[in-house]
């Protein structure tokens, strides 16, 4: 059993409730424990760091200082929300690289009786912890209800793969981390090229035309690839695509109905938990039906796959342009060479 310090973030207690519920449900099958740090405060999202430095970073660093105080055996600090993860990682990173910022932030923390040495706490995102520490084998072993036939679009969003202050990935555009996890659950994962495109963040609030256009791109592409739902790792992405899809449809005269769920919800279902227990049904565009349909067909699909004879190798298309071919029999080839 591995244990971690845990920073939930504000969304997990509000609009991201199904993320919290499903995460709680998958901890035991994954054999990990999360210890919520005491009396944490808001990380400021993308708002505070975008209009200030010392106060914004001091507010983030209060959480790092609390985590450092509660760390016993080298536990990492895990965040499930992408913005929280980035803010915590970025504050630790910049305080380490910028002595002046570090001095100012620690001066401010001192006014509250706290101190934080950069590098003390390792900040990690939940998805990376599951892939690296738990591992796909353990995930596969925990699957009781494979998601066979459930066609999903893996939507990772921006802030987990980028800016990647800790150098976790070489691929910042098309990383397949969420794809491989969902595939381990048995899901049919479409190759979704917009996997790290932006959901618009707070643009749905301050510049709706910009935000809704980004949502339109994401949803229409998932639909074009025949995914029945999108899967996310971020509460902001979830609420933007879920709650603003109606307004987006009204603006573009479209009729998209694309559910979006958290990856932990699908893990929970695959691990045999009741969909309702992991918050499925809290979305505006309900994911229950698509999920139930896929799960109902799953045993038949699995059976068909197991009993079907191996597919014959595709024959070359007679209408295709001639391709260079190998000689049909060794004898013929030899005689040709001799000639």
């Amino acid at each position: 059993m591995s244990s971690y310090l845990y920073y939930p973030g504000c969304s997990m207690e509000g609009s991201g409730r199904s993320y919290r519920e499903s995460l709680a449900g998958v901890l035991e099958p994954l054999d990990i424990t999360l210890e919520e740090i005491n009396d944490w405060n808001c990380c400021g999202a993308t708002e505070y760091v975008s209009l200030s430095t010392t106060p914004a970073y001091a507010m983030i660093a209060r959480n790092l200082a609390i985590a450092a105080g509660e760390k016993k055996n080298g536990e990492s600090l895990v965040a499930a929300c992408s913005a929280c993860y980035l803010n915590l990682a970025k504050a630790d990173h910049y305080m380490g690289k910028q002595p002046a910022l570090n001095a100012r932030v620690n001066d401010a923390l001192g006014a509250g009786g706290l101190h934080y040495d950069p590098g003390t706490v390792r900040v990690r995102h939940l998805l990376e912890v599951i892939l690296t520490d738990v591992g796909l084998d353990k995930v596969r072993a925990a699957v009781k209800q494979p998601l066979t036939g459930l066609k999903v679009a893996p939507y990772l969003g921006c802030m987990v793969p980028r800016p990647d202050v800790n150098g976790m990935t070489a691929d910042h555009d098309q990383p397949k981390s969420l794809d491989v996890l969902l595939r381990a659950l048995g899901a049919d994962v479409v190759d979704y090229p917009l996997r790290t495109e932006c959901c618009g963040g707070h643009m749905t609030q301050i510049a709706p035309k910009v935000g809704l256009e980004l949502i339109r791109r994401l949803v229409s592409e998932a639909e074009r690839l025949e995914a029945v739902m999108m899967v996310t790792v971020c509460p902001m992405c979830q609420i933007n695509i879920d709650a603003y899809q109606g307004e987006m449809n009204a603006m573009f005269h479209t009729k998209h109905k694309m559910p979006i769920v958290f990856f932990t919800q699908l893990m929970g279902v695959a691990f045999g938990l009741e969909p309702k227990k992991v918050g499925v049904g809290r979305e505006y565009t309900n994911a229950s039906k698509a999920l139930a349909k896929a799960l109902k067909a799953a045993p038949e699909l699995a059976l068909a796959a197991a009993s079907a004879p191996p597919a014959p190798r595709a024959r070359p298309d007679k209408r295709a342009l001639p391709m260079p071919t190998m000689p049909q029999t060794p004898g013929m080839a030899d005689s040709e060479v001799q000639e």
């Binding site: 405060n41 800016p163 709706p208 980004l214």
Partner: protein, 195 residues
């Protein structure tokens, strides 16, 4: 001997001064002076079409010392913080942080092109500082009433849905150590002003 100069010294000085100012407001090291004007940033930007200057154009204006024009540009306010440009910039410029620095100066001097963005961010910050947590209901309700009253009828089903699905708390959550947080922020504000 006469040395040819690309731009008159006063322009060059204004450019250097403004570049220094932006750098001083950046959390990390901006590396903005390294810009080679390649345009990878604008080409990577999902909201570039809504910007009055592309990021590349804005950086050229900074180096030309066009302070007023930069500070009233909508470009940094349209930045989504998606970091596509940051990982693609061949000069490793911290473009998102530069956008934040420009927003910080524009907010201090009230030169922003529209008050919708600064107001939303300001209310979010105020609530997070006061309660120690963000308060989704208070933030969005106030924001729509003030800036998008016409969107409210369309938003009603969404708001009702949030309640029905148990996805929004009516009252803000307050952390226990609010006094400690506020002492930290008070000192941080003083340090920020003294910079």
């Amino acid at each position: 001997m006469v040395v040819a100069q690309v731009s008159p010294p006063e322009v060059a000085d204004a450019g250097v001064r403004f570049l220094d100012e932006v750098n001083s407001k950046t959390a990390g090291v901006s590396r903005l002076e390294m810009c080679i004007q390649c345009g990878s940033c604008g080409g990577s930007c999902p909201s570039a079409s809504a910007m009055d200057h592309t990021p590349r154009g804005l950086f050229a204006l900074i180096r030309a010392g066009k302070r007023a024009e930069v500070l009233r540009s909508n470009t940094p306010w349209m930045c989504l913080s998606c970091y596509h440009c940051v990982v693609r910039c061949p000069q490793e410029i911290e473009i998102t942080d530069v956008m934040y620095a420009i927003k910080t100066i524009a907010e201090e001097e009230h030169t922003y092109p529209s008050n919708v963005g600064p107001d939303f961010t300001g209310v979010f910050i105020g609530q997070a500082r006061h309660f120690g947590r963000s308060w989704e209901l208070g933030l969005t309700a106030r924001h729509y009433l003030r800036h998008f009253p016409l969107r409210l009828p369309g938003m009603t089903p969404m708001a009702l849905g949030l309640f029905r699905h148990g996805r929004i708390g009516i009252l803000p959550h307050r952390i226990e150590q609010r006094k400690q947080l506020q002492a930290i922020l008070k000192r941080a504000d003083e340090l920020e002003r003294a910079r």
